[in-house]
C-alpha cells in the first residue's frame, strides 16, 4: 500500500490534548504516570511485522484510528438487555466509562466493587498504593498507550476468606463510531482463601469502529480461587487490544476462559505468573473468525516456582478469508521443579482462504518437569460426516453440526450456566442451520 505508515509521533499533539482532559490530571503522581507512558508510546513506535509478537497482524490499519478519547455516550437499558447475565451483579461501562444507572450491585459482603475514575477522584493516594501492587512496564506501544490513557475501569477487591456466590459481570459496551480510542483498566484483587467468579464481556454496536484498549490486572492471594471469563464480541469494524496480567500466590487457583468472537482485529496478550508453590491454572480458550477478521492470542504461562500446574486448551475455528494467530509459551524457570504444564491448541479451518499461524513453545530451564504442548490444524472429519449422513443427516447439516460440536467442547467447560447458555446460543446463532444444531447438542 502506498499510504505511509503512521508514526506514534503523528499522534502526539492529539494525545497530549486528550491527556489534559483526563480526570485527575491535577494529581501529581497520576499525571506523571500518564506522561511517562506517553513517552514510552512515542519511543516504542507502532509495532511492525518485524516485531516478532506482531508478525502476523497488520498494525497499520490500527494506526488509522483517530487518537482521541471516546466520549461518554448515553444508552438505553434496553440496548444492552440481551447481554445481561441472570443472577449476577453487574457493572456497565459505555465506551469505557462507568454508568451507575445501568449497573446493579447488591450488597455483597466481602466484595468491594469500585470504578477507577471514582477512586481516583475520591481517594487518589489509596488508589496509588492499590495500583502499585500490580504494576508493570509497558511492553509495546499499544500497552503504553493504554497506560497513558488510564481513565476508568472496574476495581474489584475480594476480602480474605470471602466466598462470593453471586458472580460479578463487568459489561463493556462500545458505541463509538468515530474511530476513537476507548481505554479500560481493570484490577482484581482476590484475598486469601477467597472464591469468586468474574465475567468481563466486551460487546459493540454493529456500527462501532473504535479501538478498545483493555487491560486487566489480577492478583490472587494465597489459597484463593477465581473463575475469570472474558468474552469479546465487538463489531466487525472494531479493534480490540487486550492485556491480561495475572499473578498467582501459593495454593491459589485461577481458571480463565478467554473467548474471542468479534472485532476486525482482536488481540489478547496474556501473561500468567505462577509465583507461589502449588498454584494451579487452567485456561479454556476459544476463538472464532470469519470474513476478514484477525484474531491473535499471545499467551505466556510462566512457572516461576516449583510444584505448580497449568493446563491450557485453546480451540479455534476460522472461516471465510479470516486469520488467527496463536502463540503460547510455557516458560519454566530453573527453580520451578516438579512443574506440570500442558498446552493444546486445536484449529479447524472451514475455508481454503482461512488461515492459522500456531506456535506453541516450551522454554524450560528446570530438569524435573512434566510439560507437553501441541497444535493441530484440521478440517472436519470425513468419517464423522459420513456417519451422520448414514443416519439421515444431510452433508451440509452434518458439517455445521460437527463444527459446533468442536466448539462446544470448550463452551461446555464454562461453569457459569447463564453465561454458558448465552455463549452457546450466540455461537450457534452465527452458524448456518442454527435451529437444527440447537436441537442436536
Amino acid at each position: 500500500m502506498s499510504a505511509a505508515l503512521n508514526q506514534t509521533s503523528d499522534w502526539h499533539p492529539q494525545l497530549a490534548t486528550a491527556l489534559d482532559t483526563l480526570p485527575g490530571n491535577n494529581i501529581g503522581w497520576l499525571a506523571q504516570r500518564r506522561d511517562k507512558a506517553l513517552n514510552q508510546f512515542l519511543e516504542l513506535g507502532f509495532p511492525t511485522r518485524k516485531t516478532e509478537a506482531w508478525k502476523y497482524v497488520a498494525t497499520h490499519s490500527i494506526a488509522q484510528i483517530t487518537p482521541v478519547l471516546s466520549q461518554n455516550a448515553i444508552i438505553d437499558s434496553a440496548q444492552i438487555a440481551q447481554w445481561r447475565l441472570d443472577g449476577c451483579d453487574e457493572l456497565v461501562f459505555v465506551d469505557g466509562i462507568y454508568h451507575q444507572s445501568l449497573s446493579s450491585v447488591t450488597d455483597n459482603a466481602g466484595l468491594e466493587i469500585k470504578n477507577l475514575a471514582e477512586l481516583l477522584k475520591n481517594s487518589p493516594d489509596e488508589t496509588k498504593a492499590l495500583l502499585s501492587q500490580l504494576d508493570h512496564k509497558a511492553h509495546d506501544a499499544f500497552d503504553a498507550l493504554n497506560q497513558a490513557l488510564l481513565r476508568d475501569g472496574a476495581v474489584i477487591t475480594i476480602a480474605d476468606d470471602a466466598l462470593i456466590e453471586r458472580p460479578l459481570h463487568c459489561l463493556f459496551v462500545s458505541t463509538n463510531t468515530s474511530k476513537a480510542i476507548t481505554p479500560i483498566n481493570n484490577w482484581i484483587f482476590a484475598g486469601k482463601n477467597s472464591q469468586c467468579s468474574i465475567v468481563e464481556t466486551y460487546i459493540g454496536d454493529d456500527e462501532s469502529n473504535s479501538l478498545t484498549s483493555a487491560r486487566t490486572n489480577i492478583k490472587l492471594a494465597a489459597n484463593s480461587e477465581l473463575n475469570h471469563y472474558r468474552c469479546q464480541r465487538e463489531s466487525k469494524q472494531a479493534y480490540h487490544l487486550a492485556e491480561l496480567q495475572v499473578e498467582l500466590a501459593r495454593d491459589s487457583r485461577y481458571n480463565a476462559y478467554p473467548i474471542a468472537l468479534g472485532g476486525a482485529i482482536a488481540r489478547v496478550n496474556v501473561q500468567i505468573t505462577l509465583a507461589g508453590q502449588n498454584a494451579e491454572c487452567t485456561v479454556n480458550g476459544l476463538y472464532l473468525t470469519k470474513d476478514k477478521q484477525v484474531s491473535d492470542h499471545h499467551i505466556k504461562m510462566h512457572h516461576a516456582v516449583p510444584h505448580c500446574n497449568s493446563n491450557q486448551l485453546f480451540k479455534g475455528v476460522m472461516d471465510g478469508a479470516s486469520r488467527a494467530i496463536f502463540n503460547g509459551l510455557i516458560l519454566v524457570d530453573k527453580d520451578a521443579q516438579k512443574t506440570q504444564a500442558d498446552l493444546s491448541n486445536r484449529n479447524l479451518l472451514l475455508s481454503k482462504l482461512a488461515d492459522i499461524n500456531t506456535k506453541p513453545e516450551l522454554e524450560i530451564y528446570a530438569d524435573d518437569v512434566k510439560c507437553s504442548h501441541g497444535a493441530t490444524i484440521g478440517q472436519l472429519d470425513e468419517k464423522s460426516i459420513f456417519y451422520l449422513q448414514s443416519r439421515g443427516i444431510s452433508r451440509e447439516q452434518a458439517e455445521h453440526l460437527l463444527t459446533y460440536a468442536f466448539i462446544n467442547d470448550v463452551v461446555n467447560r464454562i461453569k457459569l450456566a447463564s453465561l454458558r447458555q448465552k455463549i452457546a446460543s450466540l455461537i450457534i446463532g452465527q452458524l448456518p442451520d442454527s435451529e437444527f444444531i440447537s436441537e442436536l447438542v
Binding site: 459420513f386 456417519y387 448414514s390 443416519r391 439421515g392 443427516i393 444431510s394 452433508r395 453440526l401
Partner: protein, 255 residues
C-alpha cells in the same frame, strides 16, 4: 430389493471388488463371510454411500433405483442402514437427538409428520430395552466413551429406531462377549420381518448359531467365491478359508 451386478470397485486405482453379484429380496437374511481384507467393509460402505470409491463397472439397483446415484443421506431416507464395523465417536452430538433428527428426516422424506417428543421418547425407551442398552447412554454423546460392545449395541439400537428396509451389519458381532452377542442377535431376530432384508457381514460362524441366514456367501479377493445355505457356514467353520487360497490364486493367475 437389492440387485448387485458384476460390480467392480477400486480405491486409488487398486481393484478391491472384482465382480460382485448379489440378489437380495425382502425378508431375506444374507450372511457374507470371508477373510480379512477380502472387501466386506468396502462393499458395505459403498452400499451406504461412502465417498472415495471408484465404481469401474457394474450396477447396484435398490428398489428400482440406481443406488449409486444417491447421496448417503438419501440412501438412509430410502431405508438403507449400515451398522458400522467401527462406529464413529462424535463428541458434542447427543445420541438420542441425532436419532430423532435422522428419524424425522426419514419421515419427512416419506411425507410423514415429525414424531412428537412423547412418542419419540417412548419409542427410544422401548428400543433401548430391546438391546439392553442402559438409558444413560441415550443422553450421552454419540458413541463417546462407549466400550466396543456398547458401540455395537448402540448401532443395533439405532437400527431398531430407524427401522430400515435394508440393514447391512458389518461385523456387528466382532469383539462381543457371548452375552453381548446373544443380546445383539436377539435384537436382530426381533427386527426380522418379511419386508426387511439383512446383509450380515461376519467373520465368525458363531453369530449364525443365533441368527439363521437364508443364504451364506463367501467373499474372498473381491469376489463371491461360493454361495449356499447355512450349511456352508458350518463347512467354513470346519475347514476355514484355506481352500480359498488355491482358488483365488489360480484366478489371479488367469486374470
Amino acid at each position: 430389493m437389492l440387485s448387485i451386478k458384476d460390480l467392480h470397485v477400486s480405491i486409488d486405482g487398486k481393484p478391491i471388488l472384482k465382480g460382485i453379484n448379489l440378489e437380495v429380496k425382502a425378508g431375506e437374511v444374507h450372511a457374507i463371510m470371508g477373510p480379512n481384507g477380502s472387501g466386506k467393509s468396502t462393499l458395505s460402505q459403498l452400499l451406504a454411500g461412502r465417498s472415495g470409491y471408484t465404481v469401474d463397472s457394474g450396477s447396484v439397483t435398490y428398489k428400482d433405483q440406481d443406488l449409486l446415484e444417491l447421496a448417503p443421506e438419501e440412501r438412509s431416507w430410502e431405508g438403507v442402514f449400515l451398522a458400522f464395523q467401527y462406529p464413529v465417536e462424535i463428541p458434542g452430538v447427543n445420541n438420542t437427538y441425532l436419532l430423532r433428527a435422522g428419524l424425522n428426516a426419514i419421515r419427512k422424506h416419506r411425507g410423514e409428520a415429525e414424531i412428537n417428543a412423547v412418542d419419540f421418547l417412548k419409542l427410544v425407551r422401548e428400543k433401548a430395552k430391546l438391546v439392553e442398552l442402559d438409558e444413560s447412554f441415550l443422553s450421552r454423546s454419540v458413541n463417546q466413551g462407549f466400550s466396543g460392545g456398547e458401540k455395537k449395541r448402540n448401532e443395533i439400537f439405532q437400527m431398531a429406531v430407524l427401522e430400515p428396509a435394508l440393514a447391512i451389519l458389518d461385523e456387528t458381532d466382532s469383539g462381543l462377549d457371548i452375552d453381548a452377542l446373544r443380546i445383539v442377535a436377539e435384537g436382530i431376530n426381533k427386527l426380522r420381518n418379511e419386508d426387511r432384508a439383512f446383509i450380515l457381514i461376519t467373520h465368525y460362524q458363531r453369530l449364525l448359531d443365533y441368527i439363521e441366514p437364508d443364504f451364506v456367501h463367501v467373499l474372498a479377493d473381491g469376489q463371491i467365491q461360493r454361495s449356499g445355505d447355512k450349511s456352508l457356514a458350518l463347512e467354513l467353520e470346519r475347514e476355514g478359508y484355506s481352500w480359498l487360497d488355491s482358488d483365488t490364486g489360480s484366478e489371479t493367475d488367469a486374470a
